[in-house]
């Protein structure tokens, strides 16, 4: 490459290369901890395979629990990448550039974890291929399989394509500094990228296609996930707004998860120059907007059903607002929707800390929301019998913990191997320098450095 490299650009590249070249003890400790949690979860799952789902707390009356909750939660998180990457790319918002890579990777990892939980929930995972062999196109589960596999494929493409120039950068700059297999990986995955005009054209065309296509795919994914509930006749689920409501919730939780991952990676890998308070505040605005949309969804749903109080609604309202699930619901509404909205709204708390705190609340509250949608939905009696209770067992809790650990582990491994930021896109924001009229002209060839770097 014959470009002129500036100190700013060099600093950017070194920051991007740093995670790959050095590994700290803390890193190993973190990975070891995650592996222990995952191993325990694998053991718990082996007990489930041996004895059957009776080792969980699910029974005939409440036949889905923690596993489906976590599945829906992870599929929701997967909307992080699409929103940030695709929509901001389509609208050409420049501030997205340092965070697109993380967002795209969170999408892929959460899709994998989500899909795993469906299989974990099956009574006969050995027969999972029956969905391919005998699948019925009329089934919401098959729509799910179609949508998620399409989304995984599209996300992989959408993660990979803009990464090609960065992989080429790694290939060129990391020789000798990393192990042989990683060099081989970069060489293969950078598909002989040289930065030629035709290659940029090809990548540009592919990116355009992918980023426009992935938006409807992502919307369809969480819509069909919501239809697993909305295509049944159970009272709290028999609602037409489930599709839109779940997509809004997905984007909401996805943005929050992105903020959390962004904050952690920024701290650990010293990305402060590129990911600044502005990014947190802008994502915070998105978070705040979606919290309002979620409040609107809640009001829509509960006001229209509560006004009529038809079959099952009274029981559901009592258990959700006053009874067994009241703690969950009010934490979700007040702690997960109203409070984060306030944190974003008030200028006092509209900073990195405020936004990250809001995001942690949102992620917790959205998992809780999926929980009471599933469990409280099942609990409404269909015939005259006493309502049951659901209490997750150690098996379910262990497996869910392992799922989250896997999520964290995959991200941790990713930053060790792949470029953490879209270097070539961030580089386009290199602050240009203009000689001010009052300053004496500098000799040719020297470029004045802007103070403080490119951030802000």
């Amino acid at each position: 490459m014959e470009e002129v490299t500036s100190p700013w650009r060099d600093r950017l590249e070194e920051t991007a290369l740093a995670p790959v070249t050095g590994t700290s003890r803390a890193y190993y400790a973190w990975v070891a901890f995650l592996l222990v949690v995952i191993a325990w979860g694998v053991y718990a799952y082996s007990r489930q395979l041996q004895d059957g789902l009776v080792v969980t707390g699910m029974r005939d009356r409440i036949s889905w629990g923690l596993y489906i909750t976590t599945f829906v939660f992870f599929i929701g998180i997967s909307h992080a990448g699409t929103l940030i990457s695709a929509i901001l790319r389509v609208s050409q918002a420049r501030w997205r550039t340092p965070i697109t890579r993380m967002a795209e990777f969170i999408t892929l990892v959460s899709l994998i974890c989500g899909a795993l939980f469906v299989i974990i929930d099956l009574g006969r995972p050995d027969r999972v291929l029956n969905v391919i062999r005998y699948g019925r196109w009329q089934s919401p589960i098959v729509w799910d399989v179609l949508a998620i596999t399409t989304y995984i494929t599209a996300s992989t493409a959408y993660l990979f394509l803009p990464m090609i120039p960065d992989l080429a950068l790694f290939r060129d700059k990391l020789a000798g500094r990393v192990s042989g297999w990683r060099m081989w990986l970069y060489r293969v995955l950078s598909v002989r990228w040289r930065g030629t005009h035709s290659q940029w054209q090809s990548m540009g065309a592919a990116m355009t296609t992918a980023m426009i296509l992935i938006i409807p795919i992502a919307v369809s994914v969480h819509t069909v996930v919501s239809w697993i509930f909305a295509m049944t006749l159970r009272e709290p689920w028999n609602s037409t707004i489930f599709g839109a409501f779940f997509v809004a919730g997905a984007i909401f939780s996805g943005v929050a998860m992105l903020i959390i991952v962004m904050a952690i990676l920024r701290k650990v890998y010293h990305l402060e120059e590129y990911i600044t308070e502005k990014h947190f505040v802008y994502l915070g605005y998105l978070l705040g907007t979606f919290s309002l949309i979620m409040v609107y969804g809640n009001v829509s749903e509960y006001l229209t059903t509560g006004y009529k109080m038809s079959e099952g609604t009274e029981f559901h309202f009592r258990q959700l607002f006053l009874g067994e699930f009241a703690g969950f619901y009010w934490f979700y509404l007040l702690g997960g929707l109203v409070l984060p909205g306030l944190l974003i709204l008030l200028p006092l708390t509209r900073n990195i800390w405020g936004v990250v705190a809001a995001s942690v609340l949102v992620v917790a509250a959205m998992w809780v929301e999926r929980y009471f949608i599933v469990v409280a939905g099942f609990r409404v009696p269909l015939m005259p019998y006493e309502p049951s209770t659901y209490a997750p067992t150690w098996v379910e809790i262990s497996v869910v913990a392992a799922g989250f650990a896997l999520f964290a582990l995959l991200i941790t491994l990713f930053v060790k191997i792949f470029p953490i930021m879209a270097v070539w896109e961030v580089a386009e924001d290199e602050p240009t320098t203009e000689p001010e009229p009052a300053v004496a002209r500098l000799p040719n060839g020297a470029a004045p450095e802007p103070a403080g770097g490119a951030g802000g």
Partner: protein, 192 residues
């Protein structure tokens, strides 16, 4: 009381949308004469009338008498008398059963009545229904809207995957691009 049933040949009356009736049975009891008419061309699943005319030997109509219609049926290992329906004779002494036969073959329809303070009496008529083999009961669920079926979904999925494949081909194109002098970051996505 013995009931006497015999087939009487009769001319076919004009069919006016309803199967023609023909006289098939007459019973004589001590005071009551019952003339039962059944349709001439019964068909499975088609509603028809079985009419019983009650009159005395002097052709005086017997009105306001409760009448029930029966048949002996075998089903599920049980054989029993089935009540097909009931009626009360009108002022002209007619009582009718609206009935649709559901099995082919010969049906023996019994008409039971109790006249005044007498015992229950029985009159029989015979009805032969031809077999059609056509399924009567069809469960219907759903509305067929032309074009709105799973093939639409399959087409949609196929199109999306075709587009994804085109993206994959672009990656291959990158790998096989000509060796031209490298260019800077011109022509990339998102340049404002």
């Amino acid at each position: 009381m013995k009931s006497i049933a015999f087939k009487a040949a009769a001319a076919v009356l004009g069919a006016v949308g309803i199967a023609a009736l023909s006289l098939t049975g007459t019973a004589r009891a001590a005071h009551v004469v019952v003339d039962i008419t059944v349709p001439d061309q019964p068909a499975i699943g088609q509603l028809m009338e079985v009419q019983a005319h009650f009159h005395s030997e002097s052709n005086e109509a017997i009105a306001d008498m409760a009448v029930t219609f029966h048949e002996e049926v075998t089903f599920g290992g049980v054989t029993s008398d089935v009540e097909l329906g009931g009626a009360v004779t009108d002022e002209d002494g007619f009582a009718a059963l609206t009935y649709d036969p559901r099995t082919a073959g010969t049906h023996e329809i019994h008409v039971r009545y109790t006249y005044a303070d007498g015992e229950e009496e029985d009159a029989v008529a015979s009805l032969t229904v031809p077999a059609t083999g056509q399924q009567l009961y069809r469960s219907t669920a759903g509305v067929k809207i032309p074009g709105l079926n799973v093939w639409l979904l399959m087409a949609l999925v196929a199109i999306v995957w075709a587009i994804l494949l085109s993206v994959a081909f672009r990656v291959i194109a990158i790998a096989h691009a000509d060796e031209l002098p490298p260019v800077g970051r011109a022509g990339s996505i998102g340049s404002s």
